[in-house]
Symmetry: C2
């Protein structure tokens, strides 16, 4: 399994207009992350999970979880992905995972609660620009959960939480890339190492 | 300079609805290609050009050219990129490049005419899944123009045109990736080789 947790610092926690996806706390960034994490050409990757931690108004925190193996009827364009997230945000979120569509779930948890659960089945890696080159240790990476920020990055208090679950900071580039580009390259590095 | 030419086999050649970008001949694929080719986090790459060859109805072929160094007021979300393409398609296309926005141009040329011009200042590489691993020859690549298809790929007759300008077929992955993922990885391979 491969997994990605993207922190949406201002991503809204209520249904939003599909005609202004960036206006929903830069939900466009998260949509692109979902798309790049899950899709190949004309197919969906097996064994990938994406977690979106939404910290924007009016009801943070919420987590949307997307499970590639169970996903149906999603296409890679931003508006389609956003429509699925929007639907999940229209359902009451509780401490349990509520399925809002095949393969899509919503819950009301904070970063610590989420990582407490996920660290039981994933090895947590924090993706940050100044980390160690991922390609150097790719062969050691098994069942990763890559945690990364959106356009704002990861706030100090959230970093402190992450460091309770991992001490490994990895980087995929010396350039400051967009979040979805980091995901594409993380897949690439791992794919290449499997061949 | 780095350059990408993406062939939009069915991408429309007239203004289209921003509420159904995939419906415009899968213009969403081309928008994501533009975004991934041009943007870094909070900045635009220097010295990148993107060419979109649009072969859909009602007035093919048209080419939209986007020059990173001259670009203003574009953001990486699909709808914003699509808005710029839409505007370019509302302007009469001639055999000359007509600027429709800062850094965005449109012309009426076919693949052969376009490659005839571009091959004078770029080294043409054809990106295809079964090509040679780009990472093996990255250090030799200078001033590349990467030619790639959209979700449909590149049709036989267009391949024949491409092979008049290059015999080098490169691949970035053994998996069948989406076009924009190939662009992200091509940048990654070249970036890594520069460091």
């Amino acid at each position: 399994m491969r997994s990605f947790l993207i922190i949406g610092n201002e991503a809204v926690t209520e249904p939003f207009s599909l005609n202004d996806i960036p206006g929903a706390g830069r939900m466009d960034v998260l949509c692109r992350c979902v798309s790049q994490a899950l899709f190949l050409s004309h197919s969906i990757r097996k064994d990938v999970e994406v977690f979106l931690l939404l910290l924007g108004k009016p009801d943070p925190p919420k987590v949307v979880r997307i499970v590639s193996n169970e996903l149906r009827r999603m296409s890679p364009d931003e508006r389609n992905v956003a429509g699925h997230i929007r639907k999940a945000l229209g359902v009451k979120a509780t401490k349990e995972w509520t399925e809002t569509n095949s393969g899509i779930f919503v819950t009301k948890r904070n970063l610590k609660e989420l990582l407490s659960e996920l660290s039981k089945r994933y090895n947590v890696y924090y993706l940050r620009e100044d980390g160690r080159d991922m390609s150097e240790i790719a062969s050691w990476i098994k069942d990763p959960l890559f945690v990364l920020g959106d356009h704002i990055g990861v706030k100090k208090e959230d970093e402190d939480v992450i460091f309770n679950f991992t001490s490994t900071i990895l980087s995929v580039s010396n350039l400051s890339l967009m979040s979805e580009q980091c995901i594409t390259i993380a897949h690439y590095i791992l794919d290449k190492n499997r061949t």
